[in-house]
Symmetry: C3
Subunit: 335 residues, 3 copies
């Protein structure tokens, strides 16, 4: 049984299979592939696109989604093995995962980091615990990576540009008033490099470079595809000739949990906003972002409303790739 926890453990051909069938589903959205099947959507953090696209997606395939918000309208959950549960948690993930597996055919989970200790957050304990104890496939709806977004991102780029091999891809950090999750940035590096692009990471300082695990993964992918992973803090250099600009904000890992300190640094880099002047330096580059996006903070109105902005198309493609993914996972034993 295969989970979808991170694209790192998935081969490019298997991901391409999901992407190809997503194109098919975009043309013929109503197919009874998950007739009478169900998925539990566990949201430990809020969601609009993810929830709507998963819920409508499975309905269009004949199934049903149950939306659960543990700690809000369900019980808080324990994830450590062997612990004496005399704190807040009323239930262990072992039971939750087994019981949900007996009701549902798939379990999908959104659980952001706790933003206190990156060494703990990077273990992705919650997601991995569900995967360990569930007897049905588990899908990552964003934890410390966001693999569903990766699929939608690549599908959109393929729709626009065809084969992505050798394309100049820029992931740019942008400002945001809060220190955000690195998940989408980690994901962007991994998937862009896996699909053969020439990848540049633009960020204000060394401190904003992503976790070495993802840097190494991207470096290794690039090398296998005869491409480079470049890190730069120079805006002009980064944008020059870029064919894709993907924007995301995140908090600097060395200050993880000490966000007041980090804010003093972050506040100096508001000019990393994606604007028309920067986009003019690209090679007729596309712009995208995973949404939600703060207009005129991460990107200007002009960029968001431009013809080269594909953020809405990417958001729509979430629906199609997730339907394809659910079909792939839920029917993996029967095919």
């Amino acid at each position: 049984m295969q989970h979808f926890l991170t694209t790192e453990t998935w081969s490019k051909p298997n991901l391409q299979k999901i992407l190809d069938f997503a194109k098919d589903l975009k043309q013929s959205p109503i197919q009874p592939l998950l007739k009478n099947k169900s998925i539990a959507l566990l949201f430990f953090n809020p969601s609009l696109r993810t929830r709507t696209s998963f819920e409508i997606g499975i309905e269009q395939l004949g199934g049903h989604a149950v939306v659960l918000q543990p700690g809000k309208d369900a019980w808080p959950i324990e994830f450590e093995l062997g612990s004496v549960m005399d704190g807040e948690a009323e239930e262990h993930v072992k039971e939750v995962a087994q019981v949900l597996s007996s009701y549902c055919d798939l379990i999908a989970i959104r659980a952001f980091p706790k933003f206190v200790d990156w060494q703990k957050d990077k273990l992705d304990t919650l997601l991995n615990s569900f995967a360990q104890y569930a007897s049905v496939p588990v899908i990552n709806m964003e934890t410390i990576t966001h693999p569903c977004q990766e699929l939608a991102h690549i599908m959109t780029l393929q729709e626009k540009l065809g084969d992505l091999q050798g394309k100049k891809y820029l992931l740019t950090w942008t400002y945001h008033p809060k220190p955000l999750n690195t998940a989408v940035a980690n994901s962007a590096l991994m998937i862009a490099s896996k699909f053969g692009m020439d990848v540049t990471l633009l960020c204000p300082t060394e401190e904003y470079v992503l976790d070495e695990h993802y840097m190494q993964s991207a470096r290794s992918n690039c090398s296998q595809n005869n491409q480079n992973l470049t890190v730069t803090h120079n805006i002009e250099e980064a944008y020059s000739g870029a064919e894709i600009v993907y924007a995301k904000s995140w908090g600097a890992l060395p200050y993880f949990g000490q966000w007041e300190k980090e804010k003093l640094i972050r506040d100096q880099y508001k000019h990393f906003i994606v604007d028309e002047k920067k986009m003019a330096m690209t090679n007729q580059g596309l712009f995208s972002h995973c949404l939600p996006l703060r207009r005129n903070v991460k990107a200007t109105d002009a960029v968001m409303d431009s013809e080269y902005c594909v953020a809405i198309q990417e958001a729509e493609n979430r629906l199609h790739v997730q339907k394809s993914l659910m079909n792939f996972l839920a029917n993996q034993h029967s095919s």
Copy 2:
């Protein structure tokens, strides 16, 4: 593409079409008219009837509803154009509306006024913004008017009284411990006058008269139907001969945002409660209310439990009119 934001811009024949088909759906509730279609229900405020009736309604027509509560289990949303989004809002309505349009066939919105500045609230910015950016029809589930309630109200009156032309219709203000939204009252005036009734508005003082926009709209409807719009503060005069009594509480607009002051006035008019003595003055009048209703504050138990109370029937009719409306809007291009 037609939205359903307010009945003001809808002709009586088109509204009657929706009402007529609602009667049909009341007889034959299961019809696959919205097979595989979906509606996003956005609740910025709580709901019981509206949510249940929309959700079950679309299921009975073969479709599916996704319930979203922005700011609660989804992101807070920005509505101003051009703003630098460095506050609480994580996302602009422009993106939300476009993305939801790519997932769903209809978008329905409940968003009460903020009760601070009526000049701002009366712009109905949130609803109008969604309508502006969405590429699918948008339905008002109560903002500063409540057009779905209007449909259910008229359907119920037509079931009981047949043609409504010339019927004596009383909208009476009642007491409530909190200053409530004028939406249902605005709606009552507009729809009663549009359907040709002789309309009286009973309220404690001049200060409780509704916004001039709705007064003018009702006056104009009445005049087109050779009827009158009467405002009175005299209970006996208002109830005498009424054939329909519709009750609602609302806060006085001149004190909008200064509710402590308004409360001193409002507290003097608890005797506006609808009771059997008042109903005895009517011409065998029907009583209704949009619900929720505080018993023995807005109307007595005796009135609520009487044979002439049609509030439950009106609530049930929400289901039928909304199904008819969704069908009308979602299938407007295909018919």
Copy 3:
């Protein structure tokens, strides 16, 4: 019309009918028995298993569940008759029950006691009010008893042990840091005795004996089945020869509402935890619990992970018995 408020008013043969059809549904889960029907699930308290199993259950039978959380995403509700509703509640149960009855085919309710005054809580006013005013069957999803859990419990024991007549059944109190509801314990006594088992209640002191109403009900059931209801505070005596051990924690009724006092007593009995040593005293006893369970507080990891633990199976059976129950109630008039 029959409600499902407590098993006390249901005959064993009728309960067995529901259990038998549940076994059928476990084999053939997809049957269009509730095609286009709907159930309103009202949660006044959080839920994971109950909500998921009801929601997926009705979908598998062709129907739809609407999940409502009054006071959270719907209005707070009044339950007293004749009260002047000038407090928090915006709506009376009479209207809520009637309106939901006009939208749905079934209404299910979870409403835990308020834990202040047992004399009030034991009236189960909320549930009984809905049953009084609803015109569709009402299901108890846990108030002061938990009859759906009872069905799942008995189904599981019958799957494991066949006929339950004369089986030695132990309900043991266990420690929990909070004073919990007696519902599942009340239910366990009533259903174990109704199905002919020899029932022992193990609790730390006289003060932890359950409400006399349920004790009397169990005593009477036992006597009809030529069995005994035994109360003991001796752990060894209780476990010796037991064939079923069902664990649950609850607060002592004499201290109801004075939980700080009760905690001093409760804290002395942490050794009531179900562990391997205790289970070794049984007659190859099965262990179960209704979940959620705090590991290493109520039962050890070793017990929870043992082969004789049937808690997960019991949780799964919730799905099957509830589907059977919904079918029984919703189709009672048509068969």
